[in-house]
Each structure stands twice: as C-alpha cells, then as structure tokens.
C-alpha cells in the first residue's frame, strides 16, 4: 500500500500539477491561434512575466497577506494578472498589430513573437537576475502531509499549499471559460470570429475588441499558471524554455483552436510526463517474490530519466503530428 501512495504522490498529484499548468498555458495559445491565426511563441514568457510581477509586488508588500491570512503571493496574483493582461495587450498594439495591418504571413508573426520572447526574457533578467528566487518572501510554503487511514501505510499523501490553489483555480478557470464562451455576448462573438472572421465583421462585431479580449484572457491565465508554478517550484527567468514545448504539444494534442481540447491536451501531456519518469520498479517490488528468478528487478525502472522529461512532450508532439494532425478534437491545424 505504501507503493500505491508513492504512485499517487508521484503520478496523480504531480501529473495534475503539470497538467493544470500546461492546460492554462495551452488555452492561451489556442485562443490566440483561433483569433489571430499564428503560433504565439512568447506565451511561455508571458507566464514568466506574470510570476515576475508577483515577485515584484510581493517584494514591495511582503506583509500584505498576513492581515487576511492567505499567502501574500496569492493575494497579489489578481493584480499581477491584470498587469500581465495589460502587457499582452500592449505587446499586441506595439508589435503584432502593425504587422497584422500589413497583412503579413503567419510565419512573420511567429518570428516576431520569438523576438518578443527574447525581449521579455532580457527584461525579466535585468530586474530579477539570472538565478532562481522564491516567491515566498515573508511567508512559508505550507506542505500538508495527509496520513492514510490504513494501518500498514506509513507514507503520507503529500500536497503543498500552492498545489491546492492551483487545482482550485484551474477548476474555476475552466468553468469560467466555459460560461464566458457559451453564454456571454463577447464570448460568443469570439467564437464567431474564430469560425469566420469576415462574416463576424459583416455582423458588426468589432474585431479589435475581440483581439484585445483574447490577449487579456490569455495573459491572465498565463499569469495564474506562471505564478503557481513558481510558487510550487521556484521562479526562474528562463522558465519558459521548460514550458513552451509542453504547452504547444498540449494545444496540438487537443486540436488547435479548441479551448477545451487544449485543457484535455494539457492533462494528457502532464500525466504522460509523470508516468514516463515514474520509477515503475516501486510498484513491482511487492510482487518481487512471485517474479521468475532470472528477472532481477532494477533499482530504477523509468521510461526516461527525470532530467530528460522534456522529451516526453516532444515525442507526443511528433506522434500526434504523424498519426492525428488535427488533434483529439478536430482542430484547425489542417482543414
């Protein structure tokens, strides 16, 4: 039973954590693609920027959370979301909008977003330094060890406070996004523009407003994901290098242009990663006696080493592009 708890900690919880983070990033990538038809490579850095804003605000007001009893970084996150949304709209106005107005090919936009990636990373390094830093300035990261009420089990289920916030906020974001896209006038207009931009314009939908709303949504979600990831691990200016591949893999697995596909894709990639790095010999160990003698159980039996985790989304990406290029739900990659 100890082994099962070990599995829960290392696969179920770890997979849900990465899954939630990838899902929120991938939703942004997919929304931007469906409205503006280009792959936004600077999205990982928008996530880093959100976390950086939280770091900045927490350093400025380290005591803010103590008054209400929630961690300061979490309390200040809505503000960081607003700032990241504003940054996203600002970047669009300065860099992408003039290109769109010229009617450039999508690849030009992709290259421009690579430029934005480098610029944002440089900017963050300038202020936050090149090393890692903790988003907890005055607070301490709460770690919950939940004992399992079975006698033989000694290993507790371990979950951290930011992980709990992450799960809660992911569920809220998914419900909120669903209601926004299916009920609100603006959300429906967004889907209309994704379906048929010319007809949307002919119906009187202001496409500039929709573009701005898309950036705000994508920026806000990126800030949540970036912050909670940095809270759970640590804040680094080059966080995006570890995020970009998984979130694009997630968006493509789900079918580009499909917000809920992107969420599903995020969890597929997250769980695939944690299953691939999981040491399976732990689960086999209890059956050691019943295994044939010639089969010796190695100490570590994982598909890939933890340090090579990034190959998993890469493999998924290649596999999906070869066998099902439109993703789980039929997306807009190839129409």
């Amino acid at each position: 039973m100890n082994e099962l708890v070990f599995f829960i900690n290392n696969v179920v919880i770890a997979g849900s954590v990465s899954g939630s983070i990838y899902a929120m990033g991938a939703v942004g990538v997919t929304l931007i693609f469906s409205i503006m038809r280009f792959a936004h490579f600077a999205h990982g850095d928008m996530m880093t920027f959100g976390a950086f804003m939280v770091l900045l605000l927490t350093t400025l007001f380290p005591q803010a959370g103590a008054a209400i009893g929630i961690p300061t970084p979490i309390l200040l996150m809505p503000l960081a979301m607003a700032l990241t949304a504003a940054l996203a709209v600002g970047i669009d106005r300065t860099f992408y909008k003039p290109l769109r107005a010229h009617g450039v090919k999508p690849i030009v936009m992709v290259i421009a977003s690579l430029g934005v990636t480098l610029m944002l990373q440089g900017l963050i390094r300038l202020f936050a330094g090149t090393g890692g830093s903790s988003l907890y300035v005055d607070d301490r990261k709460e770690i919950f060890r939940l004992p399992v009420p079975i006698e033989s089990v000694r290993v507790p289920v371990v979950i951290t406070e930011p992980q709990l916030y992450l799960f809660g906020l992911t569920i809220l974001s998914v419900i909120g996004l669903h209601l926004f896209l299916s009920r609100s006038r603006l959300g429906k207009a967004m889907r209309a523009m994704s379906d048929n931009p010319d007809l949307a314009q002919a119906s009187g939908i202001n496409t500039n407003t929709i573009v701005a709303v898309t950036w705000m949504l994508a920026g806000g979600l990126a800030a949540i994901a970036g912050t909670l990831l940095s809270l759970d691990v640590t804040f680094k200016p080059d966080l995006s290098f570890f995020l970009l591949l998984p979130i694009f893999a997630a968006a493509i697995v789900g079918g580009v242009g499909h917000p809920f596909g992107a969420i599903a894709g995020g969890f597929v990639v997250g769980f695939a990663e944690s299953l691939a790095v999981f040491n399976w010999s732990v689960l086999l160990r209890p059956f050691r006696d019943s295994l044939p003698e010639w089969l010796e159980l190695p100490a570590n039996l994982a598909f890939v080493g933890t340090e090579y985790k990034i190959v998993v989304p890469f493999f998924i990406l290649v596999a999906i592009l070869v066998w099902r290029p439109t993703g789980i739900f039929k997306g807009k990659v190839i129409t």
């Binding site: 006038r185 429906k188 207009a189 889907r191 209309a192 994704s194 379906d195 048929n196 010319d198 007809l199 949307a200 314009q201 002919a202 119906s203 009187g204 939908i205 202001n206």
Partner: protein, 234 residues
C-alpha cells in the same frame, strides 16, 4: 425616394474598375434581381453596395443618405443586411447562436426577432441547437438569411442564394425571399438561375461588362426577345 439608389457607380479591387458606371434603384417594397453573364460585375456590384470594395466614382444612397465607402458594420447599423454566397454561417456555432450573432449590434432584438426568423424558416426552429456546419446547403442558406434579418434591415442583399441548391430548395428559397419582401424588407439579389429569379423580380437589372444593358420589370425582361436571346439562353 427609393430605398437604394446607386448612380453611375465605378469601382473594383485596387485601382482596377470592374464596374463602369452602373445605375440601380429599388423601392422598399420591391425585389430587385441582378442577372448577367459571368464576369459582368454582378457580385462586385453587391459588394460595392455593402462597402466590401472601394467605389471610385459615382454615389450610392440608402434612404437618401450617401453610404458608399462606409465600412460594413456601419452599414449594418444603417439598415443593410448582406448574405455572402459562400462561408455565410459560423459552422461550429449552433443555429440559434448564428442568429444571435446577426443581432450583435442590436441585442434587444434577439428575443423578438428569433421568433420571427423561426416563423419565416420553420426548419431552423427544430435544428436550433445543432451546429450550423452540420446542416444541408439549403438550411445553411436559411441560417445565413436569418442571421442577416436579425437586426431588422430595410434592405437585404443576397449573393446567389440558390447557388448549388437542388431545384426543390431553389424554389423554397425564392418563396422565402418573397415572404421576407412582403414583410417590408427590400431585396436585391444576384442570381445565376436568371429565369426563375426574374419571375419573382419587381425589377431586373441585366449587367454586362460592368454596365447596365437592360433595366425593366422582371416580367418585361423575361418577355423581351433581345434579353432572352443574349442572356437567358434563348
């Protein structure tokens, strides 16, 4: 005062003129039909009226006000609706959501106009929760017309509404067009099925090479041997 009054319109894509001085006027109570050979500038004229390409010379009046070179969304506000020939629905959205998008600028209309559109096109009511992309060609055309009717336009522009439809559906669409017109909406449509379209036309415009060749009532054009010989296939 005519509902739509286009006078001596020159226009096209970029600097090139496809329309070389077209005149066209219809009243609010009329169905106007534009026919003519391929490349005559029929659809171009419709797009010029709806602000989708530049009018280089001449003027277009709607209810007595100049409207040429206004963007499409302004024209929707001023009472014009346009149904493109292709890509005229939002395929992943339900029929009802498609219709709601038509009333995007007039959200107060939604409840009342949904009822009216469903009265005009009863098949749509049954399928209102189905994605428009899954409907047949004829029903899709109904969705497209319904969407354009949602903001209660004075004038509805239809670009080849029966293209690619079976004769059965063609007649059904023409029936609906007549009903919509009877409800007080002026209609101007481009048609390939010239004989059938002229049969329901109060006014017909025969275009060729970007100019008016014949303008008369639909019945008179059908009876004119010159028109029949050159444009209606004998």
């Amino acid at each position: 005062m005519p509902l739509l009054d286009a006078r001596d319109v020159y226009g096209g894509y970029g600097g090139m003129n496809i329309l070389n001085g077209v005149d066209m006027a219809i009243e609010a109570t009329e169905v106007g039909v534009i026919v003519g050979p391929n490349g005559a500038g029929k659809s171009t004229m419709l797009k010029a009226i709806f602000g989708l390409l530049s009018v280089n010379q001449g003027e277009i009046l709607l209810n007595g006000e100049t409207i040429h070179n206004l963007p499409p969304n302004k024209l929707v506000q001023r009472g014009m609706g346009f149904v493109p020939q292709e890509h005229n629905v939002f395929p992943s959205m339900t029929v009802q959501e498609n219709l709601e998008m038509g009333a995007y600028l007039k959200p107060d209309n939604i409840k009342r106009m949904l009822e009216r559109v469903y009265e005009f096109f009863p098949p749509l009511k049954e399928k209102r929760h189905q994605p428009a992309g899954e409907l047949s060609g004829g029903q899709r055309q109904m969705v497209a017309m319904g969407r354009a009717l949602m903001p209660e336009p004075d004038l509805l522009l239809l670009d080849e509404p029966t293209a690619g439809l079976s004769p059965l559906y063609m007649n059904e669409i023409f029936e609906r067009v007549k009903e919509v017109n009877a409800a007080g909406v002026g209609i101007l449509m481009v048609e390939q099925n010239a004989k059938q379209a002229l049969a329901i036309a109060d006014k017909g415009f025969v275009l060729a090479a970007g100019q008016n060749r014949f303008t008369d009532t639909g019945a008179a054009l059908l009876a004119d041997p010159d028109v029949a010989k050159s444009f209606l296939g004998g």
